[in-house]
């Protein structure tokens, strides 16, 4: 019978530290982009990290559009600006207004990457109106998170711009009907990484107490006596993210 430690043997404590450091120091970058070019060997590694994300049925539904052309970027920037301005006119969508200044990254950073989901990848006959399954689009989101972490570890910032007007973006990038643009990313070297997320720094929203997000066995279910230890542990570990970010 293997002990837990043995089962875990091929990921060392040091490797784990590297993962946690990356996770806790990852930022959604908006204003700190430099236009320093990204070396191919760095881009290659982050694309491989993205490509090894999980996918439903191993379908690997993603494509990566690498966008450097400045005319294309200007069109994308204009489309996003219009969409975000319009969206912010509706109540409950104020979120978007605050994100407008993030759009500058589209023009400032070294590289834009549009990550898509091909809904017909494993069914050879494309339908006119294929069903967009969340299982498929969620796979492309996992890809983005892998890319984001790898980028951070390579010293590259990533800013994810919310796609509000999907159809206009598809038209600009000539993306066919059966393909969904899942994420539009600004990628590049940065002047610095912020210690905390910008929206937390600015007092936009606080970091939620994780203990309020934990339920047991059903929505808002309270713990059995034997289960309550995790809440105590989470309280005790409140400094873990900050310490892990420093590599402690």
């Amino acid at each position: 019978m293997e002990t837990v430690e043995q089962q875990n043997k091929n990921i060392s404590k040091d490797d784990r530290k590297g993962l946690y450091k990356t996770i806790f120091s990852r930022r959604d970058v908006r204003n700190q982009f430099l236009d320093t070019p990204i070396p191919d060997e760095v881009l290659s590694r982050i694309l491989y990290a993205a490509h090894y994300a999980p996918s439903a049925g191993f379908m690997q539904p993603w494509d990566f559009l690498l966008i450097r052309n400045s005319e294309t970027r200007k069109k994308v920037h204009a489309a996003f600006t219009l969409a975000h301005t319009t969206a912010s006119m509706f109540p409950g969508e104020k979120q978007d207004a605050c994100c407008d200044f993030k759009l500058k990254g589209i023009l400032d950073c070294a590289l834009n990457i549009c990550v898509t989901c091909d809904t017909t990848r494993t069914s050879p006959v494309p339908f006119d109106l294929p069903h967009v399954s969340t299982r498929d689009t969620y796979s492309s989101v996992c890809t983005i998170q892998n890319l984001w972490l790898a980028a951070r570890a390579e010293g590259l910032g990533v800013g994810w711009v919310s796609i509000i007007d999907e159809e206009t973006l598809k038209a600009i990038l000539e993306i066919p009907a059966h393909v969904v643009p899942v994420g539009y990313l600004c990628v590049g070297y940065v002047s610095h990484f912020l210690k905390k997320p910008e929206m937390e720094n600015d007092g936009w929203l606080p970091r939620l107490d994780i203990r309020n997000l934990i339920s047991f066995d059903r929505w808002h279910g309270q713990p059995e006596r034997s289960e309550a230890g995790i809440l105590q542990q989470l309280k005790q570990d409140a400094d873990f993210p900050a310490a892990a970010q420093e590599g402690e």
Copy 2:
């Protein structure tokens, strides 16, 4: 002017190795679960990693339902089995049939975690039929990918079971109307991690050549002369994922 290396200084090469090793050795686990309990200090770390995922507008829309109760799990297992069997009767959904044996993990593993998305988290008044924005659900997917990587680094396997019949799952877990169950995860120690994804091993689908997934400036756009280097680099780095998985 800082050099690229200086900008990157707080993530060392060793830290990066740990991240890549974790990314490339992460597996979607089905059949290798042990029922060894997960220590609270390990669970706490992976929950914090999840909680520090990116989210649109820093809304942190996720909740984590920790499901240990065996009666609840039996109900969930029965619901998933029914849904997957039904789904596999439709053409184009054959994918699901092959995943049926994955459902066993719901009963076998130490802990089930349902990760949700609260669509009203930042708007205090819940609407009767709130609009489910992909920006919100995608945030909860990023959470899952962070949790998955942290779990792998802690020696824990994760299996993501596709939610096909959302309403039944919501009924079992008493999840309210405005909350979307995004992922249902089996989490636990495993007898071993497979070297390659099970579906790749079994010949279900091959790993796609990443070079076929790269476009330039528009869908299936060809590279400018100055851009083509990345394709050569990706070819040269074909062994990078396998080597990084071994920690090389």
